[in-house]
């Protein structure tokens, strides 16, 4: 009897001290269906529930095994074979095997897949963007998906690609239980469904607009979660996330504004966490503008902007400025012929402008974003600083902006913007993800500059098998794009995150989200 009582008492005690880990998300997930969503908070929640075929080493963009233990390409990189981990089951007991993987890849890539629910609004647009298109498209990277045996899947390609494993490691592509998708139908991924993966946490509930609650997966094949419950709250306002951190109602959070660094550092209960930079904020110059057509004018503009000073002033030490489109972790693909930093020399810039035929300068529009992004947290004051630098060489800048949805649309509509601010955060650790998005055939049509040699190099980069071979290609691209000066990199920022001091084992990934199974909260009250 005594023993029963004691056990009961212990059970109550452990229940009372159940460790809940609370994350302050910057909004609520759009959907928990993998492959169909691109926003940060959806991906962050999905990372907890699903595993990807290939994964990233903690805090880096280097690949490590995920649901696949091994992946190899044929000699010319046109077929990739993935060897799957044995004995893994989805949270609902469904075995994870070649059929399950093919089911997932198939519904994303095959427009006629019976479980793609495209007639009910599913778009899977990220597959089109990262993999060139869908089944049967002339531009599609994937040609065919083949089951070799129970635990081996081969992906045949239409054109050589060395980055397929990197792409499939991106947070978008979590492998879901086919049973669950068939059961929930078109409801899968909405709050009315139960998303099922193989990941370290099991979905419990989703209160729309409020929170998602997850429980640890006791049978996880990898490192098991160290908390009893994980709650991801939706807190849209950045200052409110900071308030909640200070009040201790959440344990950790992403996407704080750079100017809250001091406030975090001044609070003994909080630890500031710099996420490794994996983005670029840049200025795009439009070739359709009569002044910007001129090489000298663009170079003068680049030389007149004090990028280092701007980065120091607006990112509070949470950003670096260099002369590369690539964030520092991909520096291996930079050319040594390009200076590490842009030259800042207003006098030389003024002279260059005079040489170009504009000794008295001219007037031009600069569009700044109406929204805050990690790569441009405060676009308007940054635009004002750029305008001030340019006015010093006689270029009069008219600052302009408009609603974000319209901004994104108008930049691509002829004649586009003269000069505008935009940026990019990477999906996976390959230079192609940065250069390919803004140069070449897949880029937006905002600068009217797309020489054939750039597209050729981009294709060579995608086909290159080794990092050394890739480096050779991207070094050339670096030189060409630097000299052309149509896109002037301003900053690579470190998004600011923070945690209560008792949060242990959190290694933020440069890619914006990571599984939270490594985190523990010893001493949390």
């Amino acid at each position: 009897m005594k023993k029963v009582l004691l056990t009961a008492l212990l059970a109550t005690l452990s229940a009372a001290s159940a460790a809940t880990l609370v994350f302050g998300g910057n909004g609520e997930p759009v959907s928990l269906e993998s492959g169909n969503i691109t926003d940060g908070i959806s991906i962050l929640v999905q990372r907890q529930i699903y595993d990807t075929l290939v994964d990233f080493e903690d805090g880096t963009t280097d690949l490590k095994p995920g649901l696949a233990t091994k992946w190899t390409a044929n000699a010319n990189n046109t077929a990739w074979t993935f060897t799957l981990r044995k004995g893994v089951r989805f949270h609902d007991g469904t075995p994870m095997n070649a059929d399950a993987v093919i089911f997932n890849l198939g519904r994303w890539w095959d427009k006629s897949h019976p479980y793609g629910f495209r007639d009910q609004g599913r778009t899977f647009e990220i597959v089109g963007e990262l993999l060139g298109g869908y089944k049967g498209d002339a531009t599609a990277v994937i040609k065919n998906i083949v089951k070799v045996d129970e635990y081996t899947v081969r992906v045949d390609l239409n054109k050589p690609s060395s980055v397929l494993p990197d792409v499939l490691a991106a947070g978008y592509f979590g492998i879901a239980s086919p049973t669950a998708i068939k059961k929930d139908g078109a409801k899968y991924g909405t709050p009315a469904s139960k998303p099922v993966g193989t990941g370290p946490f099991i979905f419990q509930s989703w209160r729309t607009g409020d929170r998602v609650t997850l429980l640890p997966n006791k049978l996880y094949w990898g490192e098991k979660a160290k908390v009893d419950q994980l709650v991801i709250r939706s807190i849209k306002d950045a200052s409110q996330r900071l308030n909640e951190l200070k009040a201790g109602t959440i344990d950790f959070a992403n996407d704080l504004t750079p100017d809250s660094l001091k406030s975090v550092q001044g609070d003994k209960n909080l630890v500031a966490v710099k996420r490794p930079s994996f983005n670029v904020g840049f200025l795009s110059l439009n070739n359709r503008n009569q002044y910007l057509k001129n090489d000298k004018v663009r170079q003068a503009i680049s030389m007149a902007i004090n990028k280092k000073e701007i980065a120091n002033a607006f990112w509070n030490g949470l950003g670096t400025s260099n002369a590369s489109f690539l964030p520092p972790v991909l520096a291996w693909a930079n050319s040594s012929k390009v200076p590490a930093d842009y030259k800042f020399d207003p006098a030389a810039a003024k002279k260059m402008l005079a040489d170009a035929g504009y000794p008295n300068g001219f007037s031009i529009d600069l569009w700044y974003m109406p929204v805050s992004r990690p790569y441009f947290p405060t676009p308007k004051p940054i635009a004002e600083a750029i305008a001030a630098d340019l006015s010093a060489i006689g270029v009069k800048v008219n600052l302009k902006t408009e609603d974000w949805a319209k901004y994104l649309q108008d930049r691509n509509k002829e004649p586009g913007f003269d000069m505008y601010m935009i940026g990019w955060t990477g999906d996976y650790g390959d230079p192609d993800n940065f250069y390919g998005a803004y140069y070449g055939a897949n880029a937006s049509d905002d600068i009217n500059w797309n020489p054939a040699n750039v597209e050729t190099l981009l294709q060579q980069g995608r086909a290159a098998a080794t990092q050394a071979a890739k480096a050779k290609v991207y070094q050339q691209l670096h030189e060409i794009t630097y000299n052309a000066a149509y896109r002037i990199p301003m900053v690579h920022s470190n998004p600011l995150a923070a945690a209560r001091s008792y949060v242990k084992g959190w290694t933020p990934s440069p890619l914006g989200s990571e599984p939270f199974n490594t985190i523990s909260v010893p001493g949390k009250k």
């Binding site: 809940t20 609370v22 909004g27 609520e28 759009v30 959907s31 269906e33 969503i37 691109t38 629910f117 495209r118 009910q120 609004g121 599913r122 778009t123 647009e125 089109g128 963007e129 078109a186 991924g189 909405t190 709050p191 009315a192 509930s205 209160r207 729309t208 607009g209 409020d210 929170r211 609650t213 709650v231 709250r233 939706s234 807190i235 849209k236 306002d237 200052s239 409110q240 308030n243 909640e244 200070k246 009040a247 109602t249 992004r373 408009e402 609603d403 974000w404 949805a405 319209k406 994104l408 649309q409 108008d410 691509n412 935009i422 940026g423 998005a437 897949n442 880029a443 937006s444 049509d445």
Partner: protein, 342 residues
């Protein structure tokens, strides 16, 4: 009365139809394409065009010569008549499902804000009228002036920082603590927690309600206080009040029974008008306090150009305002026997 009600309801239906048309045209006339907004920085013209086609946004608005029914508005209206408000473009969640989960949160907050406005505003107004030109009157007038002029988002942030972070006595935001997980019944958290027999969770939900209700209630509070004051002053000077006093009734009876009842009519009108304003004010309050209601939901939909959600949200909000106005009109009759509907 019955035929009046039927006429009013019929008119409400017509108004709803009109609003559906107006909002349909309006959202599509705002520059900025949903497909581009969804794709964000990734939007290339080709990707946007493909997405637009898949979402059916490339179809004509009103009339498709090839297939008359295959246009956006006829499809929308036929679905609407069946009670189908469409599906969120990106989330794939039926708009009605979202409405069902979001509206109780907004309603709970609005009721709490109205309660704050009435419980604080009415006594303050009465006191100010009875003690005219006293320090109480000045205090009430000053506070109500502050309440009207202070932007809600600013007041919300101040309240959250001061009570939530500095003093640490109330939660800075959110709807309930993460230690509680109450299964919804009605969608009203406080009520649900009580129904589920979780008093601690109910108390926690009340604590979460306080700050947003104060922020959202600040403007109606100020307005209620001022209207009550001036309306009370009016009534107190009326002959019948003087007569009541002359009959030897106590001050208390005169104030509560004779004056207040008559002074309430304009207050009720104002409350009716404020119901619409509360829905509008909820946008900012809900965003600041991470309150999972209608306001923050529609706000996000607007920046994303999520047409079905914007349309559904606006039509529903219009319906709520119509119903509240109807209730206000009906309550006139019970407050003032001279008003009759036929």
């Amino acid at each position: 009365m019955g035929s009046y009600l039927i006429r009013r309801l019929a008119r409400t239906l017509l108004v709803m139809l009109g609003i559906s048309l107006v909002v349909f045209v309006f959202v599509r006339s705002i520059p900025g394409d949903p497909a581009v907004a969804m794709l964000g920085e990734r939007a290339t013209p080709e990707a946007a065009a493909a997405l637009r086609e898949q979402l059916g946004l490339n179809k004509p608005w009103f009339f498709n010569p090839a297939n008359p029914l295959d246009a956006q508005y006829p499809k929308y209206i036929t679905a609407l008549v069946r009670g189908d408000l469409g599906t969120g473009l990106k989330s794939n969640i039926p708009v009605l499902d979202d409405l069902k989960s979001r509206f109780p949160a907004t309603a709970e907050l609005s009721v709490a804000a109205l309660l704050v406005a009435l419980i604080v505003g009415m006594p303050a107004g009465i006191l100010a009228a009875l003690r005219r030109n006293s320090i109480w009157d000045n205090l009430a007038t000053t506070i109500s002036l502050l309440g009207v002029s202070m932007p809600v988002f600013w007041l919300g942030l101040l309240l959250s920082y001061f009570f939530g972070v500095k003093l640490g006595i109330l939660p800075p935001s959110g709807r309930a603590g993460t230690e509680f997980n109450v299964d919804p019944v009605t969608g009203f958290n406080v009520l649900d927690a009580l129904l589920r027999g979780q008093p601690a969770a109910a108390w926690d939900s009340v604590r979460h309600l306080v700050l947003p209700a104060l922020a959202l209630g600040s403007i109606p509070l100020a307005i209620v206080a001022r209207i009550t004051r001036s309306s009370m002053l009016d009534v107190l000077n009326q002959d019948y009040v003087r007569t009541a006093r002359a009959k030897g009734l106590t001050d208390r009876t005169v104030t509560m029974k004779h004056a207040l009842r008559n002074a309430l009519l304009p207050v009720v009108t104002v409350i009716g008008l404020q119901a619409g304003a509360l829905l509008g004010g909820a946008v900012l309050t809900e965003t600041i306090f991470s309150w999972p209601g209608l306001g923050s939901w529609v706000y996000d939909a607007i920046s994303q150009r999520d047409y079905p959600i914007i349309q559904g949200g606006v039509i529903f909000a219009a319906l709520v305002v119509s119903v509240v106005n109807l209730l206000v009109d009906l309550s006139y009759a019970s407050l003032d026997p001279r008003i009759q509907y036929s």
